[in-house]
Structures are given as C-alpha cells and as structure tokens.
Amino acid sequence: MRTRHRLRARRQGDAAELLMALRPPAEWVLSAALRRLARRRPEVFERLGAFGEAAFVIVPDGSPVAFRLAPQGASAGVQVRRRNDRSPSVARIEGPLGALLGLFDGSVDADAAFFSRAIRVSGDIEAVMALHNTLEAADLTLADLLGLSGPASQMANEAVRFARTAASAKAAWA
C-alpha cells in the first residue's frame, strides 16, 4: 500500500515537472487570450469592480499544477504554478476540471456545485462572487479562453459540447 502511494506521488511529481517545463507556451497562449478579450470586450471586466486587479488561483482536482489568473492591471495574465504554491492571491477555487470549465462558460450552476461540495472556495468570497458574476454575464466559450477564432473556435466549442453530452449520457447510464 505504502509503495503504491509512493509510486503515485512520484508519478504526480514527474507530471508536475513536465507541466512546469511546458509553462512558458501555456502561459503565453492563455495570457494573450485574456488580453485580447480585455481589448475586445472591456465591459466584461467592469463587473469585477474593485477585484479587477486581484489574483485568483484555480486548481483542477488531480492536477499537479494550478492556474493563477489576474484579470486586469499591470500583471494581467495567467501563470502556471505548482499545486501547493501559496503565493498571495485573493481567493482559491478548486474542483473537477469539467466543473471549472463549466463555471467559466456558465454551463454549470455555481451554487449547485457549491451545495454538492463539487467546488471548494476559500479566501475572499466577495471576490469569488464578483468573478463568478462577471463570467456569467460575459457569455464566454472555451475558444475565448484559448484565444481561438474562426473554424478553430467552432471546433473547440463543438468538442466541449460533445464531451458534455457524452458525460451526461454516461451519467444517465451509471
């Protein structure tokens, strides 16, 4: 049992090292998409009010890395951090990757995810609520998150729709 636990920890450590090595291109793509969105739709960020320059840490369950999101200001962008990194942030949001993406595009009901304990939040709850309401109003898609446009954008959004339908069907049969 202890050996299996050690092996799993080592595998996670290896995955973290690999993802941290890939950090620069991922940060570049995500940050560029965020800045492009800010230029294209500045009204989206108005809803963040006082939290426009705050940093939020998003942590997918099972992932060895976390994402530090700063929507606006001098340090606007997305940084990839180690999961246990505790550098200053206004709030931390944790949950399954699918649920986190669902919160991003508004296809998941955040309150229901909180009631069911699928999503865990800590830190400044006012900031979390401002971020949630901002994303809700923004009507964003996965393509917006990745900065895609044209046919690539349609393909990304179709892929998400297909994955969700497949997941729902699987849940219905479970």
């Binding site: 009901d109 909180f114 009631f115 304990r117 800590s122 609520m129 949630h132 309401n133």
Partner: protein, 330 residues
C-alpha cells in the same frame, strides 16, 4: 403565454436571454446598486444594459419587470428614485416595489408605469393588498412565502389585484422584509442594503473535507465531508441548544411547488415566480424549461408529474420542500 405567467430571474443580460429562450414569459431583474434585493458584486444591470435587454425581450414577446424592492434610507432616497426613472426610461413593463415612498414617487412621476408589490412588503391579507391598490394603484402582489395553498385560494377570492406566487428556489423563514438576522451579524440586511449575508462577511474554511462557514466571524455550521451544504446565512445555520445541534431557524432546502401548480391555478394565481437572480444561466435555463413544460402540460389537461424530477441536483442542501404551501408542521 398560457393560463399562468412564468416569471423568471435574471442577474445579467446573458441570464435574461437564457430565461426567455427557455420559456419564461417575463423576467425580473435589478439595477447595479442597493435599490434591489440582490445587490451582489458583479450582478445586475446598468441602465444602458437594462434598456437593451428590455428591447431584446420585447422583440420576442417577453416582459421585463424591474425590482426596486429594498427600503429607501431616510434622507437618501435619490438612488431609489433614480432606479424608478431608469426602469421607466428603459421601457420596463412593471416595477416591483416594497417601500411606500418609492411607490408614491413612481405613481406620481410615472403614472403609466405598472406597479407590482414586492414580496418584501409582506402583504399577506386582502386588507393589506387593498390598501396598496387603493393608495398607489398596485396591479399585482407577490405573496409572502408563508401562506398555504387554501389560504391563497381564500385570499384570491377577496381581492381584485393579480396574485403572483413563488414556486421554486431559495426560501426565507422570516416574514418577508422584516428579517434582522443578517443585519445583526454583519451590519447589512436585504431590506436596506439589498444583501443578505454579504459576501465580504462570509468565510469558508475546509479541512479534511469538513466545511466550516462563518458569517461576520460567527461560526454558523460545520458540514461533514460529502454532506450537502447550504447558503452561509444565519437562518440556515446549525446551532447547539440544550446539548443538541440542529437547524434552529430553517433547514437548508429549496422550495419546489411544481406539484402544486394545478392547485395554484385553480386558486386563481395569475403568475408563478422562480427565485434566484444570483444563480446564473445554467440554473435559469433548466428551471424555466422544466416549469414551461409543466405549465404547458397543465394547459393541455395533462399532469406535471413527468417534469417534477427535472430539477434534481439544483436544490440548496440537496433537498426540496413544498414549504408553507403544505404547512405540514401544523
């Protein structure tokens, strides 16, 4: 529209569109300030957004009802008057008001603007409703969530004012508009500031799956790992009395009165309302869709039973109740 109007919540233009597209006849929303009872960060409409959203809804046959339903602070009534003016300028089909001064202002300044009495006014008798109708020309009353279905039927027989009743979403245990629990713990109340349990006063701590919510520094519950949680409000908290921990004020559950739609229609209820402007697009699309299907089934003379399980998983604390409509505790 069928025999009953379906009124759904909208916390943003995107949520308004989702509600109408899912089958809402009307949406209710508020401006981005303390003049409405969902004054949460990032939520609600600017005056320009409200105008555009109203035009969008009207093009699709939908109505927009604007909540200006908190109580104006003495000496600072300008914000409430400005909200009434913004709603009228946006082309709102009605405003939803609780405060006598705001009602008087709206009636005097915008005589053509339809007035609905908010649930916050807690008008639960024919005499109270008649007063609002005679004094301010109120055309519809949103009933407080403390009446049973037979009590509603009796009330409708005694009034000419349209009656709107909540059928889904969060519940308040106190007489509407008179709760001081949030104010006691945080200094802010839904009645005056438009926020119950303001998020800046909430902290959530989770250790090994044990969730500890605090409000204004008061620990209000400890939720065991894997157990469904509720909103971090004092009324949904769990407290120890005489050695036993329990929900002293109210269990964390959501109202679901879909099974009572036929009874409410027979009682003469004109509109049914969904709570939850703070919830979002996914919520309103699912709830509006389920209630649209149920109301259409009723109009076809069919049962609502097939649609009653469609809302599983949305409820606070993972549980639903028919609330005061059935008054099972009596």
């Amino acid at each position: 529209m069928g025999s009953i109007e379906l009124v759904c919540p909208a916390g943003s233009p995107a949520m308004l569109r989702a509600a109408i597209e899912a089958g809402a006849d009307s949406v209710y929303c508020g401006l981005r300030d303390e003049t409405n009872a969902r004054n949460f960060p990032g939520l609600n409409f600017s005056p320009a957004e409200l105008k555009a959203a109203a035009a969008w809804a009207h093009d699709r046959g939908g109505k927009v009802l604007v909540a200006v339903n908190t109580f104006a602070r003495a000496g600072e009534v300008d914000a409430w008057r400005a909200s009434v003016d913004s709603a009228a300028a946006a082309g709102a089909d009605a405003i939803i008001v609780a405060d006598l001064g705001v009602l008087a202002y709206a009636q005097a300044q915008h005589p053509g603007l339809r007035l609905h009495l908010s649930v916050q006014a807690a008008a639960g008798s024919a005499e109270a409703i008649a007063f609002y109708a005679q004094a301010y020309g109120v055309k519809r009353v949103v009933l407080p969530r403390v009446l049973s279905a037979p009590e509603i039927a009796a009330l409708v027989r005694e009034t000419d004012v349209e009656v709107e009743a909540f059928v889904y979403g969060g519940l308040c245990v106190m007489a509407e508009g008179r709760c001081a629990l949030s104010s006691y713990a945080t200094g802010k109340s839904p009645n005056l500031a438009g926020v119950c349990s303001p998020p800046e006063a909430v902290s959530l701590e989770e250790t090994d799956g044990l969730l500890t919510p605090r409000l204004g520094g008061f620990m209000i519950d400890q939720v065991a790992p894997g157990t469904a949680a509720g909103y971090p409000t004092l009324c949904k908290g769990r407290f120890e009395a005489e050695g036993t921990a329990s929900h002293l004020f109210e269990d964390p559950t959501s109202l679901n009165a879909m099974a009572l739609l036929a009874e409410l229609r027979t009682a003469g209820v004109r509109a049914v309302k969904i709570e939850g402007r703070q919830r979002g697009k996914a919520y309103v699309a699912r709830v509006a869709g389920a209630f649209r299907a149920a109301l259409d089934a009723l109009d076809r003379g069919e049962t609502t039973a097939p649609y009653e399980a469609r809302l599983t998983g949305l409820a606070e604390g993972g549980r639903e109740t028919a609330g005061a409509y059935r008054k099972a505790w009596r």
